[in-house]
Structure formats: structure tokens, C-alpha cells
């Protein structure tokens, strides 16, 4: 259904430029590891739980072990060799015992050589393989449940956020939302979790404007949604956020607990959380490899650029970021079907013809990425507290999504930026969406923008600007472009930002069975 008549040569140029812009960054990502990647590897190998006796509160065992290994012999060879060597050397039963002994100061880590090294590598590979088998089993289980219960009856899938701070309340809200028609439930994380350099433990009940992402919270919510899926007769998907300083670990936990979608953007953490660029690209690559293995649909965060920059002037930066996200995702092994590239309805409603411009941008994304499950996000920037106007705007947002064939629709709330949505706000929002889908669900069939009309011209213009910007990024280098404030107006130098001290250049003999097993696919 090519409605925009995009020049295939221009599209090919755009992809080629994106690949060239990404190339040095991919090389950088392959040449480094991070504390978070090493911790994620140990989680795959089976370490769970936390040291509850530490004076700073619960410190996850993976943090204790990785920090100690780093202190004793560095991380440039990978954490698994010293860990599995120590396990055998001390004759301990399992990794948790090793972690406890580490906390007690009884373990001196060192890099094994010769036959010791081979033994440690073999044991580590076996342990990580067991973790990946759990991930594989979860993927198969999802396929089975989808086959038995079915996918949502129509596109776009209806994506709804819950965020109470208390996982038990979240469960109540999520089940109600599913019964009222939500196909995907996202549990927003507590404010600031992205900046924690550890993953909290256990079921949590006191988040700030969101609920902490923990392995136990993941398990509780997935189990609740399995119940409600059986009840409503369709598989209700669960989303969380693989972003911030613990991106790789959260990705592993998502795979271990059968989450279905994860927010995972190649640049969001750099731009909006001031996380070190190298750290982000290394973590991002590993986390995407894990998502690929788990069959998890990633959602990228291009909507955010439009909340900081102007949604018309910066429309092409969304396209550029989508192309970069696509390349990074393909490189990490994610197929198109798992690529929930993001974009948003954020043009100022006072701009003349704003709805037609929205259609142009949305259609451009649709036609550039025909096989990707695009994620369409609602207005936030121009939601004012006038809930009546907001309700109308959300209706237009849904209509634009239907008309341009978007795949995942994040339901807009008329109380955006006013209060945490009431039960009734969510119900009204879903009624809004249902009305548009019922009234105009098939309208795309009749929608043919005039070949030389505003929509087609605007789409061509945005693609042209995107190609120009990509060419500049190739010349300057992606890291320099980020440092210069190309995206979302944020300037982030490559050596700045949080978590830079957690980046380690790999030695020639670096070993990480998780990376090897994930690369091999």
C-alpha cells in the first residue's frame, strides 16, 4: 500500500548512511564490556538474591561479586573466569554460596590459566546455557499461549500504562485494564530507577510515580496477566523498561520472567538521563541480543525528541533515530517483527493543518518500516489540564493511528500531566479508543492522500531532511553528533555522563559465554 511514492533509491541511501553512521559505534560496543553486562551474565548463570546485611541496604549478589572481581583482577577478561575458577577452588556448592563467601571477604579472585581456565570456561558456559534455556522455554511458552488464547483481534494493539508504585495495586489495575480491552500492559518504573546501578530485589510497594522493576515484580505481574489472559480469551502482553544503567540485567530478567515487550532505545539514556554514551551503546547491544533470543518486541523512544524539540522542525530527527535504531537492532539480531520503532502525535494543535502533518509523519514511518510493529504514542506536550480538549485530541491521535496503520497504540489519557490517571480516566480513554476503532477501523482502505498534496510533499521533505542529517552524522561521527546536541537538543560528550567508570575495554582473552552464545545465533 505505497501511498507516498517514496523513491526506493532515497530510502536505500538513508539505510546505507545509517549503517555507516552506526559502524564505529558497533565496533566500540564490541570492544568493551561494562559492569552491567557482566552482572547480567552472572544473572544468566544463576545468581539471584541480595546481600541484606550490607550497611547500604540490600545489595544484589551480582553487584557484590562483580565489584569484588573488578577490585581483585579487573573485568577486562570478563567476570566468569575468575568466578567459576573460585567456585571450584573453594569447593562451593553454588554461586550464591560463592557470593556469600565473597561478602565475608573469604574469596580472593584471580584469573585462571591453562587447564584451570578451560575448566572455568566450560563450567561458565554450562551455567549460562542453563539460563538461556529458561529464556528459550519462556519464548516457547509464549508461542504456545498465543496459539491457544490468540492475539488481539485487531491492530493496533491497545497499550495501557499502570503505575501505582505498589505491585499489588498494579495487579488490580492491570487486570481491570485487560478486561476493559487493553492488549498490552506497561508497568512504569519508579522515577530515577534508570540511574540506579543495581536492580532492586523482591516485591516492592513504595515507588515514586511508578513501580520498581524487579525480578519478583516481573513474575507477579506476568502470573496475574496469565490469569486474566485465560479469562478474556487473548494473550495479554507485559511491558517494562530495559533502559538506564542496568539495561542488560533488566533485559535478562525480562527473558527469565517472560515479559513480552521492553522499551529499549539506542540513545535515550544518553540524551535524557545523561548516561555515558559508550556505556549505553555497549549495554544496549547486549540487551538487544538478549531480547532477540527471548522473542521480545523492543519499543524505541523517538517520542521523547518531540517533547523537547519542536515536533515539526525536528520531525526528521525522529526518522534518523528510527533508522539508527533499526540498524543497531538488526546488528544485534532482532528481526523486523520485533522492532517497535516509536513515534508520537506531538505537534502543537495550534499549528495550521497539524493533523495532516501528523498523518504525513506517521505514514512516512509506516512506509519506511513496513514490517515493523510501529509504536504510536499520544500527545503529552500539549495536554494542558483542559481535559475536554485533551479527550478530543486523543481521539484525533487514535484516528491518525488507524488511518496510517500503526501497530501498537499507547492509549492517551486526558489527564496527562494533571494527575495519575483515575480508574475512570483509563476507562474513558479506552472508550475513546474503542469508538474510533469501531467507527473507522477500516478507513485506511479508503485513504489515498493526493499525490501532490500536503501529506505526500511533507513526507518527502522529512525524508530528505533525514538523509541530509544522516550524511552530516556520517561525516562528523555519531558520537560527535550526539555531543553537539543533534537529538532532542541535548549535548552529551562521549566521555561524560553517568556510569562511565563502569565501562571496561576488553582484553584479547576476554571471555563471556553469554555474548558468545548470543552472537552465534
Amino acid at each position: 500500500m505505497a501511498l507516498l511514492d517514496l523513491d526506493p533509491k532515497v530510502v536505500a541511501t538513508a539505510r546505507e548512511l545509517a549503517a555507516r553512521a552506526a559502524e564505529p559505534v558497533v565496533a566500540l560496543a564490541k570492544a568493551h564490556t561494562t559492569v552491567a553486562v557482566e552482572r547480567a551474565t552472572l544473572r544468566l548463570a544463576g545468581i539471584t538474591g541480595a546481600d541484606s546485611t550490607h550497611r547500604a541496604g540490600d545489595v544484589p549478589w551480582v553487584n557484590r561479586v562483580v565489584d569484588t572481581v573488578r577490585e581483585h583482577c579487573g573485568l577486562e577478561h570478563g567476570v566468569v573466569l575468575p568466578v567459576f575458577h573460585a567456585l571450584r577452588e573453594h569447593g562451593l556448592a553454588g554461586l550464591t554460596d560463592l557470593a556469600e563467601a565473597t561478602a565475608a571477604g573469604q574469596v580472593r579472585y584471580r584469573l585462571p590459566t591453562g587447564r584451570d581456565r578451560d575448566r572455568a570456561a566450560k563450567a561458565a558456559t554450562a551455567a549460562v546455557t542453563r539460563g538461556l534455556k529458561t529464556v528459550d522455554r519462556n519464548r516457547a511458552q509464549r508461542d504456545k499461549l498465543v496459539a491457544r488464547l490468540g492475539d488481539p483481534p485487531r491492530r493496533p494493539w491497545i497499550y495501557l500504562i499502570v503505575a501505582t508504585g505498589d505491585i499489588d495495586e498494579d495487579v488490580v489495575q492491570a487486570k481491570n485494564a485487560a478486561r476493559a480491552g487493553a492488549d498490552v500492559i506497561a508497568v512504569i518504573r519508579s522515577t530515577g530507577q534508570s540511574l540506579l546501578d543495581y536492580v532492586p530485589e523482591g516485591a516492592t510497594h513504595h515507588g515514586f510515580a511508578g513501580t520498581y522493576a524487579t525480578q519478583e515484580n516481573f513474575r507477579i505481574m506476568r502470573a496475574a496477566l496469565d490469569d486474566v489472559s485465560a479469562e478474556v480469551g487473548r494473550y495479554v502482553r507485559l511491558t517494562n523498561y530495559a533502559s538506564g544503567l542496568c539495561m542488560p540485567e533488566i533485559a535478562v530478567l525480562a527473558g527469565l520472567q517472560r515479559l513480552d515487550m521492553m522499551l529499549n532505545d539506542s540513545m535515550y539514556g544518553i540524551l535524557f538521563r545523561d548516561i555515558n554514551p559508550v556505556r549505553t551503546f555497549v549495554d544496549q547491544r547486549f540487551s538487544r541480543q538478549v531480547h532477540a533470543r527471548a522473542g521480545i518486541i523492543i519499543n524505541t523512544g523517538e517520542d521523547n525528541y518531540l517533547t523537547t524539540d519542536d515536533a515539526v522542525d525536528a520531525a526528521h530527527t525522529v526518522t534518523v533515530s528510527q533508522l539508527l535504531n533499526e540498524h543497531f537492532a538488526h546488528e544485534a539480531g532482532l528481526p523486523d517483527a520485533l522492532l517497535g520503532l516509536g513515534h508520537a502525535f506531538e505537534i502543537d494543535p495550534k499549528v495550521p493543518e497539524s493533523f495532516r502533518l501528523e498523518l504525513a509523519h506517521a505514514l512516512l514511518a509506516r512506509e519506511l518500516f513496513p514490517d515493523a510493529p510501529l509504536k504510536w504514542m499520544p500527545p503529552t506536550k500539549h495536554m494542558t489540564g483542559d481535559v475536554f480538549k485533551g479527550y478530543l485530541l486523543d481521539g484525533f491521535f487514535t484516528l491518525a493511528g488507524v488511518l496510517t496503520g500503526q501497530s501498537i497504540l499507547l492509549v492517551g489519557m486526558m489527564t496527562e500531566a494533571v494527575v495519575t490517571p483515575f480508574l475512570s480516566d483509563r476507562d474513558l480513554a479506552l472508550a475513546n479508543v474503542r469508538y474510533v476503532l469501531d467507527a473507522a477501523g477500516g478507513l485506511a482502505e479508503d485513504f489515498r492522500p493526493a499525490p501532490d498534496g500536503l501529506i505526500v510533499k511533507r513526507a518527502h521533505q522529512v525524508l530528505g531532511e533525514a538523509v541530509d542529517l544522516l550524511a552530516r552524522i556520517v561525516d562528523d561521527g555519531l558520537l560527535d553528533a550526539i555531543a553537539d546536541g543533534t537529538f532532542g537538543l541535548m549535548k552529551r560528550p562521549a566521555d561524560g555522563g553517568r556510569g562511565a567508570d563502569g565501562v571496561v575495554a576488553k582484553a584479547d582473552d576476554y571471555l563471556n559465554p553469554a555474548s558468545e552464545l548470543l552472537e552465534a545465533r
Binding site: A163, N176, A180, I188, G192, L195, L263, A417
Partner: protein, 277 residues
């Protein structure tokens, strides 16, 4: 303007209002009756339940219209006045540029043992808070966020090195009045080190009362629910005041009741539904 007023529907004095709410009652005649009773108790009489709709098995949503019996006495209206206007980011930028002809430097930190950067990050990070972008978003602000557990001497040193115009300090932990003691230590250190040339000192945290500025030795205190836009508006106001008065004489902020017509106060904002990666 008359002193006594009632809501206006389509006729002066009809008192008509509309409202919507949810009750934890299954839909049905009893639920509608419960909604009417609530409306009556809110002073709406007669109350018309014009719409009721079940939300799941246990809740009902209502839209109610009716005439409210209460009368507003405008002479009794007291509003808290912010002594400075809230400006859109573009206007903050142009005003600062005109005033300073350089970027205004803001240094932010959590001091002492406090590791809760939620507050300072909500104000400084571009991601912002309650739908408003943080101070990093403003082109004419240079933001240096030192993060958590910064010692007072380190803060003074960095503020001096960065030539800070303003220092923002966030305190969440209140155990044994740590937040008050830490801020006092901080303001004393700046006075001692820099005297009248010290930067603007701003303290923020959920347990602070905006009236505490004088007692804490800072220029301004922001309490719970403060948004980045309010801080930006204050910075413009304070810099403008500094330009016209010597540094030491900036009066601490006052929030005085004023007898003016009802001014719309800033809406109470809370968690946005925007995705928080």
C-alpha cells in the same frame, strides 16, 4: 464584580455545575441514588445523575449536573501569591540573555549522606517533571549536576570553579532533622567562603516549608510538587533583582496572603502518564 457569586450555567444565579466521579458500588439504581446523595452533601440540590456507567463489576462512573447551593464571598478569598511570574522557556531564555549576556550557571547537588537524587534530577534533567522540561532544557542555563552525596566543601569548591550564579541543593532524608542541619551548614559555608559574592542559594525537598528560607540562610526554599518552570521563573526574578540591588540585600521569599481577586494558582501536578524510561 459583585461580592457574592454563584456558578453560572445559562442564567445568572442558577448555580449550575457539572462533575464526574466514581463510586466503589456496582452499577444500578442504588449506585445512582448513592451518587445523588453524595452530590446533595456537596451542596448540589437538586442533583441530576445524567450518566452512569459500570467500570468492571465493582465500580460505577457518574456524570452529575445540578445547582450548587453554596455562595462564594469574593471578599473572603485569600490566595497565595508567587512574587514572580511563571515564564515559558523561550521567555526565560531571552530574558536571561538580555540580563546577563552569557549563560546563567546553575550547580545542583544532593549534599550530606542523602543519596536521593529524584528531586534534583526532576528539576535539572531534561526529562523534567510533571510534563515540564528540566532546567537542562533551557538554552541560556548551564546546568552542572553534581549528583548525590556531595560534601559541603566540595560543593563550595565546584560552585566557585564553575562561577555559579545559583546553587540548588536537594534534601529528601529528614532523619534527625538532617535536611535542616545540612542546609544551614551549606549556607554558612558559602557565606564564609564568598561573603556577599556568594551565588543564589536555593534549597528544595518534600519536607521543606517555603517560609523557612530566612531560618536556613538561603534565598529561597521550594517544597513538595515544585516544577522546573517555577524554579526557572524564580531564577529570572532573582537575577533581575540582583541586577538592581546589592547581593546581600535580596529579601528572602515571602508567601503572603493578598486580598486580590481569585488568581488561578498553579494546578497540582502529579505523575504524568508519559513513559518514564
Amino acid at each position: 464584580m459583585k461580592r457574592h457569586v454563584r456558578p453560572y450555567g445559562d442564567t445568572t444565579g442558577d448555580g449550575m455545575v457539572q462533575m464526574s466521579f466514581t463510586l466503589p458500588v456496582p452499577a444500578g439504581p442504588k449506585a445512582d441514588g448513592a451518587a445523588r446523595q453524595l452530590a446533595n452533601r456537596m451542596g448540589v440540590d437538586p442533583a441530576m445523575v445524567v450518566h452512569s456507567n459500570p467500570i468492571g463489576d465493582d465500580f460505577t462512573f457518574f456524570v452529575v449536573y445540578g445547582s450548587v447551593q453554596h455562595i462564594v464571598d469574593l471578599d473572603e478569598v485569600r490566595v497565595v501569591e508567587r512574587e514572580y511570574p511563571l515564564l515559558p522557556p523561550a521567555e526565560v531564555n531571552t530574558t536571561l540573555k538580555k540580563l546577563l549576556r552569557r549563560k546563567l550557571v546553575v550547580v545542583g547537588a544532593c549534599i550530606g549522606s542523602d543519596a536521593h537524587t529524584v528531586g534534583i534530577d526532576a528539576i535539572l534533567n531534561i526529562k523534567g517533571f510533571a510534563g515540564e522540561k528540566g532546567l537542562e532544557y533551557y538554552r541560556e542555563l548551564k546546568v552542572v549536576n553534581l549528583g548525590a552525596q556531595v560534601s559541603v566543601p566540595e560543593l563550595v569548591r565546584r560552585a566557585r570553579a564553575e562561577k555559579a550564579d545559583a546553587v540548588l541543593v536537594s534534601q529528601v532524608v529528614t532523619q534527625r532533622d538532617a535536611h535542616i542541619l545540612n542546609i544551614r551548614e551549606m549556607s554558612a559555608a558559602f557565606r564564609e567562603a564568598m561573603g556577599e559574592r556568594r551565588p543564589l542559594l536555593i534549597a528544595g525537598g518534600p519536607r521543606f516549608d517555603p517560609l523557612m528560607a530566612g531560618e536556613l540562610g538561603v534565598d529561597r526554599v521550594f517544597g513538595r510538587g515544585t516544577t522546573p518552570g517555577e524554579v526557572a521563573g524564580y531564577l529570572v526574578h532573582a537575577i533581575r533583582t540582583r541586577k538592581t540591588t546589592p547581593p546581600a540585600k535580596i529579601p528572602p521569599a515571602k508567601t503572603a496572603p493578598a486580598k486580590t481577586a481569585p488568581v488561578k494558582s498553579a494546578p497540582v501536578k502529579s505523575a504524568p502518564t508519559k513513559e518514564n524510561m
